[in-house]
């Protein structure tokens, strides 16, 4: 493998990892604070991608479509939380898995009914439709760089919010003991609703950013959902920092696997996960005690 090809794989892996981080951070927060295992999280990714495609066809601009689609995703998140997820807070994992599995089926049918089974390409905005040279022979699309930068920006903003604001303090408190937070007189219902819709919007945004790179197709949410689960398991449930490192690890393992061991690429990620679990059954940065 030449140096420039190696560098290309590294930047692609990091960019993919950052995208996974957007999806996985919502998943891990919703589980850590709300205590709900949400299988429909991948559907939000898919919805985001479809909205980006559909709106950019209408408006002619992907960036405009993203600006419209993000509030739409927030609203979808609020609706799903109120109508379905809020009924699960006191229920066991099995009920959560099954109800959110039902939501996955529902969203898949919705996508089929609204947009059909075709694969759709999404064109990158003209301002970002160029490539940058990488060494002698390789190039890297500007849209991937934009995606990576956007993910880094959102990651940094999330860190600031979680660590520096009152809202973030409540989120952290909720992650360690939601009942106690409620007992202290904080409106947990509101906190949960905001957090869930933020997670929804993040997953949707990841789908929108990925749309020009991967095209938009039925079932696109599911592979991302499962990879996000792997990320969360590797990083430790409830840990944003863990999700970050887990996502980079998975992104790099997947990208290099596709180059070095084509045909087994998808399996490599799971082998990494199995190795981490053998070493630390609660993930790299997971709670040391028997939590939720």
């Amino acid at each position: 493998m030449s140096l420039s090809l190696f560098v290309l794989q590294v930047v692609n892996g990091v960019e993919y990892g950052l995208l996974l981080f957007l999806v996985a951070s919502g998943l891990t927060l919703v589980f850590g604070v709300l205590g709900v295992l949400n299988f429909a999280h991948g559907s939000f990714y898919m919805l985001g991608a479809y909205l980006a495609w559909w709106l950019s066809e209408r408006t002619g601009s992907l960036l405009l479509a993203i600006l419209v689609a993000i509030p739409a995703m927030v609203l979808i998140g609020l609706a799903v939380e109120r109508l379905a997820i809020a009924r699960l807070y006191a229920r066991d994992h099995l009920s959560q898995v099954l109800l959110t599995y039902g939501l996955v089926l529902l969203f898949n049918e919705l996508q089929r009914a609204l947009w059909g089974n075709d694969v759709h390409g999404v064109s990158t905005p003209r301002a970002l439709a160029w490539t940058m040279p990488l060494g002698e022979t390789q190039t890297w699309p500007a849209w991937r760089a934009f995606t990576a930068l956007a993910c880094v920006g959102i990651g940094v903003a999330m860190r600031q919010i979680v660590l520096k604001t009152r809202f973030g303090m409540r989120v952290r408190a909720g992650a360690s003991n939601a009942e106690m937070v409620e007992a202290l007189g904080i409106d947990v219902r509101r906190l949960f609703a905001i957090l869930f819709s933020a997670g929804t919007a993040l997953a949707g945004l990841a789908g929108m950013l990925a749309a020009p790179l991967t095209t938009v197709y039925p079932g696109m949410g599911e592979s991302v959902l499962i990879l996000s689960f792997v990320v969360v398991v590797i990083g430790g449930i409830g840990s944003i920092k863990g999700a970050f490192f887990g996502a980079l690890l998975v992104g790099l393992a997947d990208t290099f696997g596709k180059v070095l061991l084509p045909g087994f690429a998808s399996a490599i990620v799971y082998a990494v996960m199995a190795a981490v679990l053998l070493w630390r059954p609660r993930g790299l940065l997971g709670p040391a005690f028997e939590g939720r």
């Binding site: 994992h93 009920s95 599995y101 049918e109 998808s266 679990l277």
Partner: protein
Amino acid sequence: MRRRLLLLAAAAALGGVAFSGDRFWLQFLAKAMIGSILAMSLDLLVGFTGLVSLAHSAFFGLAAYLLAGLTNRFDLVNPVVTLPLCVAFAAACALVIGWLSLRATGVYFIMVTLAFTQMLFYLFNDSPALGGSDGLYVKARPIEGRAAAYVAIWAAVVLVYLLLSRLLRAPYGRVLEGIRGNDQRMRSLGYPTRRYKLVAFVIAGALAGLAGYLDATLYGFVNPAQLGWRQSGLILVTVLLGGRGTLYGPALGALLLAFIEHYGERVTDHWNALIAALVIAVVLFLPRGLAGLVQGAPRA
């Protein structure tokens, strides 16, 4: 006692269908019965041990794929040879996956079983040697003829029911229910709970393998989608629909789901939305499933 008579009557009626020779009903009920083997064996984990596994479809698919490999590559068809081989293979895979997955508990366990299932799905889906996304045909079927296959599947359902109900009445089954109630307490009473759970996982995996073997025998075909996580989700739905923690409930759930699938497909192209609505409604309003309707008072 009344329940026993009802079950006996149902089993006899199902067996009797074999003599009708009706193509549609033989195929339809055979499929439903395979579903009920899957659901009953998964209920051993979900309803009785409190382990939510999403790896059940993996063992189903692994046994089916092994049958395809044995018949196509090695001309091994005779069920006396292939059946034990396929079931043992599923059990061995369940031992490995279970041993790894049971290092994790609670929600980690769910995610890890899900990840292993998808790993196997991609392994078969992405490799042309294993049939790729199209799957494989089983060139020679171990049991020829629709009626003969039906009788074999019927016998398997009856045996699986008897085996599981015997197992659950034995001290071993009581320990499993104790683990579902409180794992830590069982451990402090001196039971090596992880080993108990692993044995349950292997038994359930072997039975899922039996179902996969029968399915491949009935249809002569296996594809990777049968092994993916959506399939596992559907088996979980079957268990929930019928009522977890009972054996006849999930068996009933499989029959009901087969009906919905068959007639739903005729009514609307979007019958998956029907299933979705049903799942959501059952989780919210009928958490103990159909068996909960039959039984009335909750079971301890």
